[in-house]
Symmetry: C2
Subunit: 240 residues, 2 copies
DNA sequence: TTGCATTGTAACTCAATTCGTTACAACAAA
DNA sequence: TTTGTTGTAACGAATTGAGTTACAATGCAA
């Protein structure tokens, strides 16, 4: 029994038993409840209701008899329907949400983002709004390669790094920080939790974004106060 | 609080509280935890972990403070990501399942289908395989309108119905059954459960499909035995 | 027919998740 | 000091799915 298939089907709304039974049945073509049970490990006394549920959900067909025979509906068809249903649901939700979404976005000048995806999303957004000048500090080339396309579009791009060697293959021109500047960025303990900064970007001297780990959680902080951006820029310039 | 939005978001993997909080936050733009709680009805003492979860899932951003402020990530972006993830999952599952699917399909000549969608799927399949002749009996025009496109493609199409009036607007030419023939199809009680037949189709005198309700459940039976199809055809012809 | 294994149903326990509530610590304002 | 707000932690109830037990019904072989 392939663990991945079961995992995939569970994400799409089946239970573990349903996923196992369906995947097994796809592989067997035609089978009795007992045969499915023996191959997929679902308890025999439960396989009957599971197969019945799968029937009601349109995943399997059957011939009544003694024993009753079952077979899977063609997986491409089933999956196609599933996709149509989910996409329809997403489209509906999107338009419903957008119709609620009256308020303009971004009155507060400081925002934090916690999720991995959310951070990427914000960085994309941030980079797309750079007009003239972008200053980047980072300690690993990951950020650069991850957002290569957006970064290449920026005209006034300056990148400073802690050690140049790490960035040789990145395809970007980088400057190395002055000796001693790393104290601004090295890991620090605040209130007993370890914080480390992975990257800092300043756009047009107006807004900035700090990406790092605080108390073990990845976090990005977006600051749109020119004052702060200017301060950060001053620190920055002292570093070369 | 719109019930539909919450329902939609739940289908997409959020819990009730998460869905309510997110939808509310989309409508509010920027708000404190308390404000979200007051508008969406999630208990105040729970709103904090809910918003934190939403943060980790990439649905909301926040500014720490007293009070902490929250706002929803743009719904179109969030939904787009969700769609990409689900579609990727479906595509992966489809190819994994198809790689298991060695067995040819359809050695047993009789199959039952329980789900609404499964029935439609089988009818489509059934109609697509008609070569010369298709005989249809039905008692409501729904089936005809539902599969209008496929039916129009069939050359040797004959439709018989119980009462012609019902089918005037269907766009199909129909014949009316002889008086007394309805006894073959009228609701009957077998083993204490009420069975009724909505439709019967016979393709090329080879295979047939019966659609009806048995013990309160919609059910289709596909039979690929020429004998049975012939018998059904004989009954059929006696009806005009 | 009797005995026995298989088929199928129904109910239960257990564990995880989510809902909804309670208690309380930290803090700020009056 | 009192009061109210913010935020955390934990608990009990309800629901769901996983895994088990008991048993009736069916078919089969001696």
């Amino acid at each position: 029994m392939q663990e991945e298939i079961v995992e995939g089907l569970r994400k799409l709304g089946l239970t573990e038993y349903e996923a196992k039974a369906y995947a097994t049945l796809v592989g067997m073509g035609e089978a009795t409840a007992r045969e499915v049970h023996e191959l997929c490990g679902v308890p025999r006394t439960r396989i009957y209701d599971i197969l019945r549920d799968l029937g009601s959900k349109g995943f399997v067909e059957f011939v009544q008899g003694s024993p009753t025979y079952y077979r899977a509906v063609e997986p491409d068809r089933v999956m196609e329907r599933l996709r149509d249903e989910l996409v329809a649901c997403i489209d509906r939700s999107t338009s419903e949400l957008l119709s609620l979404n009256l308020e303009a976005h971004g009155s507060s000048p400081v925002w934090c983002v916690r999720s991995e995806w959310g951070i990427k999303n914000r960085i994309r957004d941030f980079l797309s709004k750079v007009e003239q000048e972008l200053i980047v500090f980072c300690r690993s080339p990951d950020l650069l390669t991850e957002h290569r396309a957006e970064l290449k579009k920026v005209v006034g791009l300056q990148i400073k790094v802690d050690r140049k060697e790490k960035f040789e293959d990145s395809g970007f021109e980088v400057l190395e920080m002055r000796e001693g500047s790393e104290r601004f960025f090295k890991d620090s303990i605040i209130d007993g939790s370890r914080n480390s900064i992975d990257a800092l970007m300043i756009a047009d001297g107006r807004s900035s974004i700090v990406i790092g780990t605080m108390s073990g959680e990845k976090l990005a902080i977006i600051i749109k106060l020119p004052v702060i951006a200017m301060l950060q820029k001053a620190v920055w310039e002292s570093m070369v």
